[in-house]
Amino acid sequence: MTLQVSTKEIANFQLLFESVPGLFLVLLPDFTITAVSDAYLQATLTRREQIVGRHLFAVFPDNPDDPNADGVANLRRSLERVLETRMPDAMAMQKYDVPRPDGTGFEERYWSPSNFPVMDADRNILYIMHRAEDITSYVLLKKNRDELGLLHDELKKEVGADELELPELTDDISAGNQHLHALNRALKLEILARSKLEDANRELTRELKNNIEKLEASNKEMESFSYSVSHDLRAPLRAVDGFARMLEEDVADQLDEEGRRKLQVIRDNTRNMGRLIDELLEFSRLGRKELNYGHLDMSALAQAAFNDAASVAVNDTTLSLSELPAARGDITLIKQVWFNLLSNACKFSAKREQAHITVKGSRDGDVLTYTVSDNGAGFDMRYYNKLFGVFQRLHRVSEFEGTGVGLAIVHRIVTRHGGKIWAEGVVGEGAVFHFTLPAAT
């Protein structure tokens, strides 16, 4: 039975050989070049038709400008050893310059060559396979570093210092090669790690962008919601109040006292609702407003807020204000904090004949603490958890009026400034409010 092999299935060995990535040259035993890999041609600046069929040393003579050139002699000895011993022969690193194709001299080249015999069944040498590795860039690098090392030594001598250290250089080329391989592996690992990191980064960035977009959308929704609340809830209230008032103006003489009282109840409640809407809006605006940081003269702000708050007080209210440490914050908002705390203090002390409010401040490290205390109605500590809630009140409207938003606003402002707020109260004796702000650095 004959084996039939289609020509298409026979590998094109010449093409294969010429395409191998290594630098290979095939010599006849008389050192005539008979085959060459593309990579070798590239590294030696030659073309196949120029060198195949020619004698090795005719193609690659020693550089006549280099008096120490011994490449030809060394290579010849190695090849002769191969012929003699029929064993592979690895050569030491060689400086073997290659002639430039334009005839303008030689290129400096360093090689790590080895030669192998190719034998027939009877161990007759048919070819010598010459393999070379171009180590020029490594050698030049090493040379540079050696020069650097010399400089470094001189420098060391000059400054008389020993602590100047340069990494140890490997003299041995193969050790150097190993070093390079290791570096290469490390580099590949790092590239892999980096690309994974970049992937993770991209994923995170995408997520972040999504979240920001969602946040912006809900912020916009919130804004248009607030707008609708303020616009559309107020209009009917205005009509209720206005028409009640018209009724009062136009037909007051036809109403008895009870009728007029009922009209007044309508109007009082309408106004109250108007105020609730305004304060709710203000509260929601606080969450969105950007803080404009500036220097704050806290003593002046507290004094001004007290003057405003006490102007409506019916009783005698006094303030002891000690010098307060200055702070940094949004002046409009911190003004609001002082006003809300001090008007609360005034309001809840209104039933005292002699109301007394104390404002103090101190600095502890990078925390500023301010305290407002009064001798007013105080509050029941059992309900402390409701104190700073929106629309939460710890007193009946008949005792003290209010919407229950003031302290929620204070809480939000202080928190947005990175501070804390807390309080203590004793029913019938008074309340103390503390808030902190980060000290300016």
Partner: protein, 148 residues
């Protein structure tokens, strides 16, 4: 409308109750028979520029004041304001915006367009009345017709 009677104030307000409150406030200043009330931005433009149903409006004297709500059907108060302030003939008519809230970009937009003043309509009748009276009185006074 009576085209022989001179109109001094144009009230542009889609909420009839707000309109009634405003009219009542103006009435107290004896200004009410000189007020024309329209309910949307399109009618406002027709009136101001004597077009559409107001084609035959005699315009020997310019308006002395326009009270203009921001939120209006068809054409918004801001668009009406833009047209008024873009036309060299109507540009000098004082425009006071009426708005239910000081929220949003509306007011800064109005100022950019050259609004003369604005009123945030208060819930309380007295304050609202006071604001409208003030605006009406002030701008009518500023734009007093020379005594004939």
């Amino acid at each position: 409308m009576n085209s022989f009677e001179r109109i001094d104030i144009l009230l542009v307000e889609d909420n009839p109750y707000d309109a009634e409150l405003s009219m009542r406030a103006l009435q107290k200043k004896k200004l009410v028979n000189k007020v024309e009330w329209v309910q949307d931005g399109a009618d406002a433009l027709d009136f101001i520029f004597s077009q559409g149903v107001y084609e035959h409006r005699v315009q020997d004297e310019p308006l002395k004041l326009i009270l203009l709500d921001i939120k209006l059907p068809k054409v918004s108060g801001i668009d009406v304001l833009r047209k008024i302030k873009a036309d060299p003939v109507t540009r000098s008519i004082p425009v006071v915006m009426l708005t239910s809230s000081a929220e949003g970009q509306d007011l800064s937009e109005c100022y950019k367009l050259g609004v003369n003043s604005y009123i945030v309509k208060p819930v309380e009748f007295e304050s609202f009345q006071e604001e409208v009276e003030k605006a009406g009185f002030y701008w009518m006074l500023v734009n007093r017709v020379p005594a004939s």
